[in-house]
């Protein structure tokens, strides 16, 4: 382990970059960046889609030469020569699905000409570290998403690299697996591994020791997560009001308020000064007769920071108003849009969904959350009529039982995880197709197509083949084409997977607008910060809905307190605590340790401090923090299922 300075920066340099430039033809992907990454750091690269992150990874990984640089040194060597010390994992890991875990490891080791003994020893070491040593004989194809990532990581580690480059390793991986994966990264870093990681999930970025925010080929901010958040100089007000939609537009016009971001049951309002801001907000809303609940003050989250910074840089995504052609015509807000009564689905003996009840009304945004394999996708497929339930009754858009009628489908919008568009058609041809097949009148087609192109930020790219679009942009077009025909019920299965935070906000603004107009929205996501935008949430575990309610009530219903601990040896503290309590209760966030305990705040903090001190770990500070939805989700999921369950997908 390396000696660390109090600010968390290690002395020894692992990666040093000065004036790095990369051109593709006339396009400038990277415009002269500097990086200083110390040994043992977890260094996060964040930024919107197309900021140049992947180019940086490819250059550091030695798979692509830079156009020019003053200095690019990996452990003092040029990237190509340092490749033996570098493990580089791209978004799509190359595992052999029909080989077992052990065979995959052996194959990777053999490629690197390692001895049988080394392969076996190192392989088992990492499998143990990743809590995977029970599954050596399992086929890689039958592992859960998170397990696959960890196996891929183990395959990269078997060559004993000293630097790991991870380009969006957790896209499409559920929150539980993602947290496990990051626990793994934390333990590797404590062994002296240097890790550079890109991620679109800003809650993950909180777990980095250092961050750089990239935009348009340059680095615009660098620092610890804490430094970045305080660099804004803003305070965050959590405002709860009766009519969020109106409250949002009222507050946006208020001069004392810097930024308003809408979440499911609250607004995050950024202000320079919390006192003045609170008063300004109360006055503004009072004038419009909008009832306000309590206003809480807090520090901005990393997401608040990211959005505010980027809005300053590129202006907000001002998606044009959706060209509406029909007024909403559902009978009443009480009518059930999506309903399930005791719905079950069996595949052979395996119960994928076990008797769930759901009622989603028009104008409601309902978030269905769950780990991979919890039965979410099966549930959605049954709800929208793609799959016949084994048992129970489905109600959809006013029809009970048979949900496959043409009339119902005309009023549904559906966006599935990945395959919503035809890759071999151009963007415009895709839009033509969806407009035509849903019978959007010809007179409106041009307006609507134009809207989708603007919403996606792809004006002028109509003739581009959809298959050539990067993931985030494809999702935007897919979302646009799913709502072209103005559906009354909208199913969105992981709509924002791989989409950057700013675009994600544009998505949610549109979703909120639709819901305000009376559309019922069912959405799934692995990104729990965005799940806060839902009006109601359902947590699924092993085919059952185990918790349901508004984001606030779901969080309130969970017992337990989150204690944040600052210590000199977070990894040792984590290892120790995991040995005395359920492992899920402990996770490392950068230089801090998050521990979930059942005792109330004060007593719990003191108890923990004492427990750690008795075992030779010094605690610099400890305080209770509000639990994020993700903390709650993980607690619910982990309490509901025994260890190892998640593997049986």
């Amino acid at each position: 382990m390396n000696p660390t300075e109090p600010n968390g920066r290690s002395k020894e340099s692992a990666i040093r970059v000065r004036g790095l430039v990369k051109h593709y033809g006339k396009t400038q992907a990277v415009r002269g960046i500097d990086l200083d990454i110390g040994v043992g750091e977890i260094y996060g690269l964040i930024g919107p889609d197309g900021a140049g992150k992947t180019s940086v990874f490819q250059i550091l990984g030695g798979v692509m030469p830079e156009t020019s640089s003053v200095e690019t040194a990996m452990l003092g060597k040029p990237p190509r020569e340092a490749r033996n010390y570098t493990g580089y994992l791209t978004q799509t890991f190359s595992l052999y699905q029909d080989l077992t875990v052990r065979e995959n490891l052996r194959y990777m080791g053999d490629l690197r000409l390692l001895s049988k003994h080394d392969i076996e020893e190192r392989g088992m070491h990492y499998l143990r570290l990743f809590d995977m040593d029970r599954f050596t004989e399992r086929l890689a194809g039958r592992l859960s998403g998170g397990m696959k990532q960890k196996l891929a990581l183990a395959c990269a580690l078997i060559a004993e690299p000293r630097i790991l480059l991870l380009d969006e390793p957790t896209t499409g991986v559920d929150p539980v697996s993602r947290r496990e994966f990051w626990d793994t990264l934390a333990s590797l870093s404590s062994e002296g591994m240097t890790i550079v990681v890109a991620t679109p999930y800003l809650d993950e970025a909180e777990r980095c020791t250092h961050l750089s925010l990239m935009f348009n080929g340059t680095i615009i901010r660098t620092g610890t997560p804490k430094e970045l958040k305080s660099s804004l100089g803003l305070k965050r007000l959590e405002v709860r009001a009766s009519d969020l939609g109106r409250a949002e537009s009222v507050l946006q016009d208020e001069p004392a308020i810097e930024d308003v971001q809408r979440f499911g049951d609250r607004l995050d309002v950024m202000v320079r000064d919390s006192e003045n801001g609170t008063v300004a907000a109360r006055n503004a809303l009072g004038k419009q007769n909008i009832a306000i609940g309590q206003i809480r003050t807090g520090d901005p989250t990393l997401e608040n920071t990211f959005v505010s910074l980027l809005r300053d840089l590129e202006g907000d995504h001002h998606s044009p108003p959706f060209p509406r052609s029909r007024e909403f015509q559902e009978r009443s807000a009480d009518a059930v849009a999506i309903g399930a009564e005791g719905v079950s689905k069996y595949f052979g003996d395996f119960a994928a969904v076990k008797g769930i009840d759901l009622t989603i009304r028009y104008g409601e945004i309902y978030g269905l959350l769950g780990a991979n394999g919890a039965g979410k996708t099966t549930t959605i497929k049954m709800l929208c009529g793609l799959l016949e339930p084994t048992d129970g009754l489905i109600e959809l858009a006013g029809e009970r039982g048979r949900a496959r009628s043409q009339f119902v489908r005309q009023r549904l919008g559906y966006m599935s995880q990945k395959f919503s568009l035809y890759d071999d058609l151009t963007i415009e041809e895709n839009l033509d197709f969806f407009a035509g097949v849903y019978g959007v009148p010809r007179t409106e087609r041009e307006k609507k197509k134009k809207w989708v192109m603007e919403f996606s930020g792809l004006q002028g790219q109509e003739k581009m083949l959809t298959g050539e679009l990067p993931g985030g942009w494809k999702q935007r077009v897919a979302f646009g084409s799913a709502i072209l025909h103005e559906p009354s019920v909208l199913f969105l299965d992981e709509p924002t997977s791989g989409v950057d935070p700013l675009a994600r906000r544009a998505f949610w603004r549109m979703i909120n607008e639709l819901a305000d107009r009376g559309v019922a929205v069912l959405v799934t996501t692995h990104y729990l910060e965005e799940a806060e935008q839902c009006n109601r949430l359902g947590f699924m575990v092993a085919g059952e809905v185990v918790a349901e309610g508004t984001p606030t009530s779901v969080k309130a219903a969970q017992s337990g307190h989150l204690i944040s601990i600052v210590t000199d040896r977070p990894q040792a503290a984590s290892n120790f605590l995991k040995s005395v309590m359920d492992p899920w209760r402990v996770s490392i966030f950068g230089d801090r340790l998050h521990v979930v305990i059942e005792e109330d705040g004060v007593r719990g903090v003191d108890g923990l401090k004492k427990l750690l001190a008795d075992n030779g770990i010094e605690v610099y500070g400890a305080s209770e923090e509000t639990r994020s939805l993700e903390d709650v989700f993980i607690a619910v999921v982990e309490q509901r299922r025994g260890p190892g369950d998640r593997l049986e997908e």
């Binding site: 793609l386 489908r409 559906y414 599935s416 395959f419 035809y422 890759d423 035509g436």
Partner: protein, 392 residues
């Protein structure tokens, strides 16, 4: 109704555009049929000339000489030796000096004049089994045409239509009911026993079904493979519209293959078009549709294009082998012959040869046409039904 038409058009245009992007598919529709026709027409041409024939003529009569002349007339055989005994000839045959030999019995002429059935013996060197089969087939046909000559010249037999009639058993004279077309015609439609015509005309149907099934299976299974099928199913488009919109562009493209293969047959092999071109194109389209039906059916059993390919390897060869495209159905084992009636390719083969080579029309070909139509309707409806069912 108007909305439904708009939906169908949207689906249709989408399929057209996807096919337009799929350059490999376009190539696949042009190159393989052309190459296969040319290749098979030349390579599989079983025409063998100048087979060495030995003769043991125990009859030594005008009738027996007539028989020998019939053999040599076709250029398929040339008599290389007359033998006094069968054993002498067998010796040469086993040494490979002869490819075939005939033994004409002493009572041959007598039986002929009495109008009785006379048997001749045909010996074939079976070392080269292919040549042997061909030689035997030739001999059969030569004898058959001779029969017909005889029957036609016998006034008590009333002519009766029976397409493609050719007796098999080398026995003289034939069963009365088979008597029909005059020998002139029998030899005229393929005077030099030009077998490339036989192969090419039969192969057209086989190619249409093969192409239809492969292209349809690939296209039908593709959405399942890449996962867009769910998005498609969530649209208000009915299953029927989805299927027909998928089939229509493939059908149009493959109909072009009918023209293509006919052109190749005409230019390369000089195959004539003696009958109705329209009838040929219509039955060709039915053949294409049967192929599409088979392909669609295959697509309902598999989940990827690769599996579809493998499965069509399993389905197509028997269809082609049992179609009579490359080997005469008459040369197949007895118990298999009825099975070929269940093969649309066989029926198209009969139609194709009828129209192109003989100039026959619907009046003669209607049984095969109806059979083809029946298979086409059956295959398309079964596959559409299975496809719809899996869409649920």
């Amino acid at each position: 109704m108007f909305v439904e038409l708009g939906r169908w058009l949207a689906l249709f245009v989408k399929e057209l555009r996807q096919i337009g992007r799929n350059r490999r598919l376009i190539v696949m529709l042009i190159i393989p049929p052309t190459v296969n026709l040319v290749l098979f027409g030349f390579a599989l041409n079983p025409t063998v000339t100048n087979l060495r024939l030995g003769v043991v003529d125990n009859s030594s009569s005008a009738e027996s000489r007539e028989l020998v002349t019939a053999f040599t007339e076709s250029l398929a055989f040339k008599v290389t030796g007359y033998y006094l005994s069968e054993s002498e000839m067998s010796e040469d045959l086993s040494e490979g000096k002869l490819n075939a030999g005939i033994v004409i019995p002493s009572d041959y002429a007598d039986k002929r004049t009495r109008g009785e059935s006379a048997n001749i013996q045909l010996l074939v060197d079976a070392v080269d089994s292919n040549t042997a089969t061909i030689a035997a087939g030739y001999a059969g046909r030569i004898v058959a045409s001779l029969n017909q000559t005889i029957v036609a010249s016998t006034p008590r037999k009333s002519p009766q239509a029976a397409p493609g009639g050719s007796a098999q058993t080398p026995s003289v004279p034939p069963r009365a009911s088979r008597a029909s077309i005059t020998p002139r015609v029998a030899l005229l439609y393929n005077p030099a026993l030009l077998n490339s015509w036989f192969i090419v005309t039969g192969l057209i149907g086989a190619l249409l079904v093969l192409q239809g099934s492969i292209v349809a299976a690939a296209s039908m299974v593709r959405e399942k493979e890449v996962g867009t099928i769910e998005q498609l199913l969530m649209t208000p488009a009915e299953a029927g519209a989805i299927i027909t919109a998928k089939i229509a562009p493939i059908f149009l493209l493959l109909t072009a293959d009918i023209g293509l293969s006919l052109t190749v047959a005409r230019i390369v092999f000089g195959v004539p078009v003696r009958g109705s071109l329209l009838l040929f194109v219509v039955s060709g389209s039915l053949c294409v549709l049967s192929g599409i039906g088979i392909g669609t059916m295959i697509a309902t059993f598999v989940n990827s294009q690769q599996q579809a390919q493998l499965m069509s390897f399993f389905v197509n060869p028997p269809l082609i082998l049992l179609s009579g495209a490359m080997t005469p159905i008459e040369a197949m084992p007895q118990w298999i012959q009825p099975l070929t009636l269940l093969n649309p390719v066989r029926h198209f083969g009969v139609i194709s040869r009828g129209i192109l080579l003989k100039g026959t029309g619907m009046d003669v070909l209607y049984p095969n046409f109806l059979a083809l139509l029946g298979f086409c309707i059956l295959l398309v409806s079964i596959s559409a039904w299975r496809f719809r069912r899996q869409l649920r």
